[in-house]
Symmetry: D2
Subunit: 345 residues, 4 copies
């Protein structure tokens, strides 16, 4: 199989490249870029010297359609909205890592993203690619809206409770922390080392564009689900997301029962590791891997629940889950090319 990546020079594209290099079912991987065509890829990414000789190619849809079997789009917001209509007539499945295809209601997209939504006929075909929850739909999709990094961590943490109706109209408060690579490779004051190192910032208070994505998915699972409180923080590290989620249960459960709900829910999901009672994951314990590790606790003093969910934002939060969906769509093992042991320390 020949695959292509649009937006190869970003961190998402680089991470797909890393994974694909050892994927058992991919023969060739062609890289497209709007900015650096003609430039050897390892010039942007010297860690790939000797590992790839790819020259970046321009984004020309007809030619792309001609030379590849499967397309990953890892471009900045707005690019998929523009390109997917052109891809619609070709028989090439597309996994889009941007937020462009995730929000079903165009007006919601517009109000959170402050940009024009993708055409409705494209949005209608897009399947929300939260692998563990939507395997069946993913299998046959034309477009996969690959989930955002925060929504992946949050939704995998919430799903066992929401899908079992254990939180109905309860408050859900999400305090999320991310490493800097989530902001992409573009230089800005917000990614400047001296501004971030030895510093801890909160950067969007109830204004993050991943909010409607989380709510849309959770409300689809349970219409009683209510709007969340959601803050995102920037931690002085490169990779990793931790979502600490606070809620309360509709009905009374013991800590053990709660724990079992989680273990049972994910018992057939290789990439979700529910920790033992009393254990909570740290972000580095999934570094470089596709795992989502989850810890859960019931506080008997307040009867509230704390859920801790961690991922590597570039893997399970982007490129890793994209390849997981790619595997599902092609009927291969979900772990093909993805069974990385986390790098520790």
């Amino acid at each position: 199989m020949k695959i292509g990546i649009i937006g190869a020079t970003g961190y998402g594209g680089a991470e797909i490249t890393r994974i694909i290099r050892s994927h058992p079912h991919v023969g060739e991987c062609i890289l497209y870029s709007s900015s650096d065509e003609g430039v050897p890829y390892h010039q942007s990414y010297p860690h790939l010297v000797k590992l790839t000789n790819q020259i970046l190619k321009p984004i020309e849809i007809e030619q792309i359609a001609d030379e590849i079997d499967f397309l990953f789009m890892a471009a900045p917001p707005g690019v998929s909205s523009r390109l997917t209509p052109q891809l619609d007539s070709y028989d090439i499945p597309v996994i889009d890592l941007s937020g462009d295809l995730r929000i079903k209601d165009p007006s919601v997209y517009e109000s959170w993203y402050k940009r024009e939504p993708a055409p409705e006929h494209v949005l209608e075909k897009a399947v929300y690619g939260l692998s563990e929850l939507h395997r069946e739909e993913i299998k046959t999709a034309k477009y996969i809206a690959n989930p955002g990094c925060f929504p992946t961590a949050v939704l995998l943490g919430l799903a066992p409770l929401v899908k079992n109706g254990l939180i109905g109209e309860s408050f859900v408060i999400v305090d999320a922390k991310t490493g800097v690579s989530g902001a992409g490779r573009k230089a800005s004051m917000g990614t400047h080392f001296s501004e971030i190192n030895d510093n801890f910032k909160i950067y969007k208070v109830n204004e993050h564009q991943h909010t409607p994505e989380i709510e849309q998915a959770a409300m689809r699972w349970n219409p009683a689900f209510k709007p969340i409180t959601f803050s995102t923080h920037l931690a002085p590290m490169t990779r990793g997301i931790m979502a600490t989620i606070y809620t309360e249960l509709k009905e009374s459960l013991s800590g053990d029962e709660l724990q079992r709900f989680f273990s049972d829910f994910y018992q057939d999901s290789y990439f979700v590791r529910v920790r033992e009672s009393g254990q909570f994951p740290a972000t580095k314990e999934v570094y470089g891997s596709n795992f989502c590790d989850i810890g859960v606790a019931l506080d008997e003093r307040t009867n509230r629940v704390t859920i801790v969910s961690v991922i590597d934002n570039l893997m399970k939060g982007a490129a890793g889950q994209a390849v997981q969906n790619f595997n599902i769509m092609n009927g291969w093992s979900e772990t093909a090319g993805l069974d990385f042991t986390p790098i520790y320390p």
Copy 2:
């Protein structure tokens, strides 16, 4: 005035030393240590080479009482419980940076700290030294129980709402993040660089010993205050605490009104800087200083409030607030020796 510091080799002691070096009202500062007596202090802390020639002295209460006018205790838990009864008969005010004197109810102390509480006659005399809130009591105290780092950030963030009765029985959820220096200088797996760098950890889920300290103070301000949900996280940085606090208001306020409650509440408190509406502080913006910076937001979608409170854990969260209390007790300006500009970047 001659002051003494017990526990000078810890980070809290070193930070008091840094402050006192340029304090206008202190003539001499004698350093006591249980472990390194006879050793020059700059051997433990080479950044003080040429700035101090102090030799660490042993902890002998009679001699201490003889040679100093004022005592700071910055020792590990358990030391103050043991030493304060011996100091009781001397006319020397004591500021204790440990948790030993903070909890009024010995059985509560015992159940959270898992160690023997201080004698009740000492606890009775101890004043909780949250400077901005308890100035009057602090002035005349024999013992100051200097607040913990997390409680300082959390209580300064909550006080305007709790003291004005704006949150009654509402839930209060505190998601706190700290730098590593809060764990002290003792080497352990929990402070090992390779385990923490590029990593984000949650380390106490509803089990942190600062929980009863926060609740005791808030309930004193408003007996309707309810037990909190409290998680502490370790961020890969040296200094700084951010507490992100989530709650809801008893009665409806506009965002502007909420903002004004905070600004008005702290208008006479030099060291609390309430940020303008829509602005939130980062930890590095108070680095090396005694400020507590606070941002607040009302989410109209959910009607919940998010409060962000940051401090330098070694300054306002320990040594800085101790010196602030020292100033209050001596009738000096609260800022004497403490008007450090934050170091940025």
Copy 3:
């Protein structure tokens, strides 16, 4: 005294502001910026909220000359070359933190900096402001060419040997490491957190523009001094420079004699702390202070000397030394406003 800072929005300008805030002899400090005129300074630097109400003013030479007594220039390269000729007729001393006035030979400047040099009549008046070595000349200068961060660390490390003729034509190899703040506040791939964190880079191999500055000063002290080998590395930290310097002695000395050369040389220089034999400084031991700490060792196996010199690049390497020169020029104590205890940890 009223001072002005051109280029206040850069890190150098912010650091001068921090120092000047507690300087005993400065009444007012006016901030000038080419980009953000009319904007409150604390908008660029929220750590200064409540500490300054300055509004950034445009750079208009006539008005500047009218309203201030002393000028600091902390602008990007090229600005001083352009502005100093306009300042020449006014009786205002200028301390320039850029490299524009440091190199006496315009053709050397041009070949290393790849830009047009300042006019010769300005260069002639400029005194190289390495405070400890050139106090007399500094006192009466119109223009101070404030030394670069690397040259400060390197020259203070070399001076005792070069000025005593202990290294003649020997090789001198300088392996320098710097934190990221030395690159300024402008966002670029070279200052992107994700590219630098947990990474160690070499970035100029025998091509750094500070090379001729080091050689010019050392050759002025001893014409036999030979061209150096000089590499600069970027360490994943915000502040701090370490220069590790390797050379060999013309004549044989014992380790003790070598040590004494250094101690004696700096015995009257408050800001240079020569460490005891066998002790070497770390960058954080001077963090936020104006110290240059030096360690030295003779290797008896090879008869070579290793000198380790550390500074805070924004302090002794920029703003701190500028204020030190400001003090010298005004006949005040060298430490006025500058006696910061290093922040540790």
Copy 4:
């Protein structure tokens, strides 16, 4: 094949485990520990939850010899000296990651390591396992003395010049920088986060025990090689070593000729990537991989050479090279199980 690891709880052991998990020729891997026998391995290393169910076993030589085919020793210094004589009679090849078997002359070992050397009959059988340089000897060895992290980076950087006789009696100055994981997992002041973060330290000036290891290998290649000057620095990062090496050539070469010496020398060595002229590697470009990346420059002003060599200290500097040697000894492809793409960013 069944392999065993003694010292599995250290970082070296954990990294071998990570590699072996996807090694095509290893059936089983048994973990031995002197301290945590009976404990599940993932309790020490939660990143391995679900990936291994190993229970740590005690170190009993007879049983070990009985149940495995090949042994890795990743224990603290002194352990191999003690255990290898016991292993001598068994037909099990051993790769030792400690320094115990590297130094041929026991008195040299003793004077640098300050501990008792291994028995001479063991030292005689030990082959120095610098894979690229000693492939033939490695193939048939009973014991491999796996090279130290610094010597690996330094010797791969020096080999093209030393083996070609291009540096004879020239000075060789090595300025090495390492991440903290090289110090192992044991907690100490030297690995305390707050002491290292945002700090840069020099920690052994001409006293590092890797000095004789480098000299022994280089002198074996060319007896004219002279004692080196060698300093090691601790950078605030987890993984990675950069060695910056300064020397001068015996005879005059152009920069291009120099470059070609390096490219040609390593053209058949997959894991050494010589960068193009003018390009220098950063440590993160080999992160998590077995590569050693090398850049080289000739300075025409001084006629000196600068060589920059980077590795991941836990991979090519320890576990990776150990597995590479394991592959060589078994006649497999050198890259078996080792073809990791560096993780970037």
